[in-house]
Symmetry: C2
Subunit: 213 residues, 2 copies
C-alpha cells in the first residue's frame, strides 16, 4: 500500500492517523503541493482530482478523498473501528467529522488562501481575518457538538474515531496559523489527549519523510 501525502496537508494527516491507529504499513510518497507537484502529468494520471491524499493498493487501485479513504480502510481493516456500527453513535461521529471536513478545512486550505492572496490580492491581514473567521465559526460548532454529544477523553469516549482523525489536524493547522483556541476547551482537551497517543504522534507532520521546517 502506498500513501501519496504532503506532510502539512490536513487531509493527508487524517489518513495517516487512521493508518497508524489500524497499525497498517505503507510506503510514504511525498507530493509537495506547495510547488504544485499534484498537477504533474504522472501524478494526474494516477489521481485525476490532483490532490492529496491518495491511497494506492498493491494491485494499483487508487482512491482519493480522505473521508472515502478512511471509510474504505474501516471496511477492509475493521480493527479498530473508526466508525461505530451502532447507527446513532456512527451518525454523531460523522456529524462532527463532517463539521470539520466540509465546513472548516475546505475554506481555509492552501488553494483557497492562495486564491485570496494571488488572484484577489487581499492583504495579509484580510487573509488572516478570513482564516480566523472560519476557524471561529467552525470550532464554535464543534465545541457545541462536543458539549452536547461528546464524552472524553476522545471526541466520543474511550476509543478514537474518524472524528478525532479530523479534529487533530484541524487544531494543528489553526495553531500553526496562530489562532487563539482558548474558547474551545473541549476541542483542546481532545486534541491534547490525542497528542499523547503513539498513533497520533506517528502521523504528525514533523514525523513525515517530506517534512521541512
Amino acid at each position: 500500500m502506498q500513501l501519496y501525502s504532503f506532510f502539512n496537508s490536513s487531509t493527508s494527516y487524517r489518513v495517516r492517523i487512521a493508518l497508524a491507529l489500524k497499525g497498517l504499513d505503507y510506503d510514504y510518497k511525498g507530493i509537495n503541493i506547495r510547488v504544485g507537484e499534484q498537477r504533474a502529468d504522472d501524478y494526474r494520471a494516477l489521481n485525476p482530482s490532483q490532490g492529496v491524499p491518495l491511497l494506492v493498493e498493491d494491485d494499483g487501485t487508487a482512491l482519493s478523498q480522505s473521508m472515502a479513504i478512511i471509510d474504505y480502510l474501516d471496511e477492509t481493516h475493521p480493527e479498530p473501528r473508526l466508525l461505530p456500527a451502532e447507527p446513532r453513535a456512527r451518525a454523531r461521529v460523522l456529524e462532527l467529522a463532517n463539521a470539520i471536513a466540509c465546513d472548516m478545512h475546505p475554506v481555509n486550505n492552501l488553494r483557497i488562501l492562495g486564491y485570496l492572496k494571488n488572484r484577489l490580492e487581499v492583504s495579509e491581514e484580510q487573509k488572516n481575518d478570513w482564516y480566523r473567521h472560519w476557524i471561529a465559526e467552525g470550532f464554535g460548532a464543534v465545541e457545541a457538538l462536543l458539549e452536547r454529544y461528546g464524552h472524553g477523553p476522545y471526541c466520543f469516549g474511550e476509543a478514537p474515531t474518524l472524528a478525532d482523525c479530523c479534529l487533530v489536524p484541524q487544531v494543528a493547522n489553526a495553531e500553526r496559523m496562530g489562532c487563539d483556541l482558548s474558547a474551545y476547551p473541549r476541542v483542546m482537551a481532545v486534541y491534547q489527549h490525542c497528542q499523547r497517543q503513539p498513533a497520533f504522534q506517528q502521523a504528525a507532520p514533523s514525523r513525515q519523510p517530506d517534512f521541512t521546517a
Copy 2:
C-alpha cells in the same frame, strides 16, 4: 421525522433526494438562510451548528451535516441502499460524493459568497470568477472520476447512490449561477438522467413549500 431545510440549499437538496429515493415521509420545516433564520435562538437550541439541513426524529434526536444524515438514513432505512455494501464500490461512491461535498460546495456556498461580497468587498465580476473557478476545478475532477470509474445512467450504474444525491444539487447550483457546463458531458448526462426521475423531481427546490422565485 422533520427536515429543517432551505429550498435552495444544496446540502438540504441532497438530503431531500435521499429521503425521496427511500420513500420516507417527513414534515418540511423551512429555514430561510438568506435572512439568517439559522442563527435564531430557538433554531440554535436545536442545531448548535446553525445550518441546514437538520433531521429531527420523532423522539427529538437531531442530526446535522448532510453527509452524516444520508449515511444515517442508509443505516436505518437501507432500502434502497445509497452506499453500496461492497467496499470498493462504496469507496468510489464516497470518493465522488466527497469531491463535491468537500471540494466544491463549501467554497461556493452562501456564507462564502457573502463574505467575499460584504467583508472583502470584491466586485460582482470577481465574485463570479471565484464561483466559476471552483466549479471548473471541481467538475473537472468529477468528470475525470466518472470517465475513469463511472458507468451510467447514474454515476455508478443502474441505481442512484449518494454520489447522485451530491451531483444533482451541485449542477443545479452551477446552472443557476450561469456556468457553462458543456465541458462535463458525463456530469451532465447523469444530471439529465436524474432529472427525469420522480424522486429527484420531488426533491427539487421549486417543489418545496418555502420556494420563492
